[in-house]
Structure formats: C-alpha cells, structure tokens
C-alpha cells in the first residue's frame, strides 16, 4: 500500500520533480486528519485557510443555493483540494465539504504554507501551476457538459476516481452531472449489462 509520501510524490511528478530537502520540509509541516463517513469538514460560512491532500476515501464539495444541494466536485486519493479564492483572500468559502466515506487527508495550514513559500520562493511557481491545473480540470468538465453524452461522462468519472464512484449516493453524482437520478440510473444499468454481456462472451471464448 502506498504511503502519503509516495502518493504526494506521484502527484508532484505530474508537474515537476521536487528537490529532496524541500519535499521533506513540505511533508514535515503537514498535519494528518482521519474522519468517519459523513463528517462535515468545512462549510461555506468558514474561511478555507488550509491546503488538503487526500490519501484515502472521498471528499465531496457542494454549494447550497435556493435550499438545494449542488455537488461541485469529488476528490479521491492523490487529489489536492482548496478553494483558491477563499485561501488567497482569507475570505469565506463558496463551498461546503464533507467526507462521503471514511477518509484520510493531510493538510497544510495557511501560515505554514506561506512560510514555506517565503523560505522557497521558487515554489510560488508550483502554486500557480496547481491553480492553473485546477482551471484546466474545470474547463474539461465544462466541455464534457457541453459536448459529451452522459455515458461517456460517467465512464470518465470511473476512470478518474475508480470504482469508489459506483457507491457514491446517486443523487450526489446526478447533481454533479446536472441530470436527474433516474437518467443516471439508466446509464449505470446499461454499463453494468454491457460489462455482463462482455464477460459472458469472454467465458464462451475460453470454452472454445
């Protein structure tokens, strides 16, 4: 099983290879939190003054508008999570966060992270790249919304978050995808039946 250090390094390597000493320093200033399922981690009335990194489980972000709950994101192992606007301005967040399953995440307090950037100013570059990556992720989601069918979007979610996505409550996933739970249910059935047929065909081939 991969450790926090391994998972963090894997995530960093997508963008750059960190210096060993700086990487150790970054790990040293992090803290760890383990929470049971359904824990509310932050609300939109609070300042998001931490940087989170998920190592196990799943966190959901959501917005409450007109007394309705709209899911805005899912975060699983290897995902960084922050509200850049709230974090930068130390202003209240627009989002709420909850652990959907038993979850472990590591986090950096605002002051500790800023002190790290003071000490290693070139990491300001990494912070910018991180927010830019978040932007590209959001644009991908917007383009999917506008151009991909529901089945492809659902398969993409599985690719991104693994099978954990299959046990996310249907109404949260449907809200995230902007469809009715019934429409999502039809797609899930279609995919499950497709896999079952594929598996049956596979067994037939083996028998021959």
């Amino acid at each position: 099983m991969k450790t926090f250090r391994d998972i963090l390094l894997d995530t960093f390597k997508v963008y750059f290879t960190p210096d060993r000493e700086e990487f150790e320093e970054f790990i040293k200033i992090s803290k760890k939190r383990e929470v049971p399922a359904k824990t509310i981690l932050k609300t939109q009335a609070e300042v998001f003054d931490q940087l989170w990194f998920v190592t196990e489980g799943m966190i959901r972000s959501y917005v409450i508008a007109d007394n309705r709950d709209y899911t805005s994101g899912f975060y699983t192992t290897g995902f960084f999570l922050m509200d850049p606007t709230s974090f930068s301005r130390l202003d209240t967040s627009q989002f709420n966060y909850e652990a959907l399953f038993p979850t472990t995440y590591h986090y950096w307090e605002y002051e500790d992270y800023m002190a790290f950037l003071e000490r290693y100013p070139h990491h300001r570059n990494g912070r910018r790249l991180f927010i830019q990556a978040k932007y590209l992720h959001l644009v991908g989601r917007l383009v999917d919304f506008q151009t991909s069918n529901l089945k492809d979007r659902y398969l993409k979610m599985i690719e991104l978050h693994g099978d954990l996505i299959n046990i996310v409550p249907q109404y949260h996933l449907a809200s995230f995808m902007g469809v009715k739970p019934q429409s999502l249910s039809r797609i899930k059935t279609e995919i499950t039946n497709g896999r079952r047929n594929l598996s049956m065909n596979g067994e037939n081939i083996k028998e021959q």
Binding site: S88, P121, N125, R128, L138
Partner: protein, 208 residues
C-alpha cells in the same frame, strides 16, 4: 492601434487598469515595485466595433484586460456561431486553455462595441515569472479569476434554470447586460432570443 503602456499615456484608463491589478496585489501582498514591473509589459489596443480580433485555430498567446467596451468569444458548432464568452470593462479575457496548453483555440473574438484593451504576451509573462518569482502570485490571481468564471458557468449548467442563470448574470455582470445585444446574451445562456425576451417580460410583470 498599439502602444506600450507609459505613465503619461491615457491616464484614466491606466488608473482603471491599475485599480484592478491592485485588488489582486492586495490579496497576495504584492509590493508596488513588483506591480509596476508587471504593468510595464502590457500593450494598449484600440479597435472599432465589429472588428475580428482573433481567429479560431490559432494559439491564443495573450491575456487581455478590457478598459472600455465589450467583446464576445464565438465558437462555431456545426456551422452555427455560439457566443461562448462575453466580457466588458474590468474583465480579464482570452482563451486561457489555449494560452496554457499551446493548442489551437476553438474560439474567435470580436469587438461588440468600440473597444480599448490591454494585452500581455505569454512569453513576456513567463519572462516576468523568471525575473521576479513574486509575479507568480499575480499569475495565481489570474488563474483563480479564470477558475471562478468557469465554476460559475458550470453551476449555471448544473441548475439548468434560465431564470437563475439570467438573474446571476444581472447580479454579477450588470454592465455586461447593458452593453451587449440581447441575441448575444441569449446565445451565451444557451437559449433563443425569444425565450430570453419572454423571461424578461415575466420578470418585469412580477416586479410591478
């Protein structure tokens, strides 16, 4: 018409631009000298209404800031032009995905009204990041701004309620609604001008 920014050029416009950058600078505690260095690489442009400023297919290598007027980003899908982006005074604008990834843009940009904007080239911005790491923080501000714009757009698609989407636009972009023709607003919201017109009539009736 193009010219590099100097202190004695178009004082009012420059003050307007500086005022917006100072907001970002305050958020990230950027010093005056750093902001001055950042502003030194922007160029002023002035175009009449209906000028095509950028053609789809090219790499969008700049970030623009609108000082006066309105513009639209158009995406052609199946031979039909859809207004994909709308921007007015005080907005940063461009195809930020194309800017970051170096891909050809799917968008064309046109001046809706007579337009004055400032631009900075990607190579100049990257040069500034190298010269002064603190300018990365302004880059964070620009990326955060872009994230907010996309999140709002996604939220609009999630809720799928035209009234909500239009009210949101009125609340956060009243200048945009005043300056941009109804057919572009309708296209931006993904509806026909007639649907938008009916909604506006209904809203006006409820108001009285």
């Amino acid at each position: 018409m193009e010219k590099t920014l100097k202190n004695n050029d178009n004082e009012g416009e420059l003050a307007f631009f500086r005022q917006h950058l100072e907001k970002i600078a305050r958020t990230f505690s950027i010093k005056h000298e750093v902001l001055k260095l950042f502003m030194s690489r922007w160029t002023r442009h002035e175009y009449p209404a209906k000028t095509t400023l950028f053609e789809a297919g090219n790499h969008f290598e700049e970030i623009w800031f609108i000082v006066d007027g309105a513009l639209r980003g158009v995406r052609n899908v199946g031979g039909v032009d859809w207004t994909y982006i709308l921007a007015v005074d005080g907005h940063f604008i461009g195809d930020y995905s194309s800017f970051l990834m170096g891909d050809g843009s799917k968008l064309s940009f046109q001046a809706v009204t007579d337009l004055v904007f400032y631009s900075i080239k990607k190579e100049d911005l990257e040069d500034l990041y190298r010269i002064e790491p603190l300018i990365n923080d302004i880059g964070c501000g620009l990326a955060t701004y872009a994230c907010t714009m996309v999140s709002q757009r996604i939220f609009g698609l999630q809720t799928k309620d035209l009234k909500n989407r239009y009210e949101y636009l009125l609340k956060w972009n009243p200048t945009l609604v005043q300056k941009i023709p109804q057919q572009d607003i309708a296209s931006f919201l993904g509806v026909t001008p007639q649907s938008l017109s009916r909604l506006k009539s209904r809203m006006a009736r409820h108001k009285h």
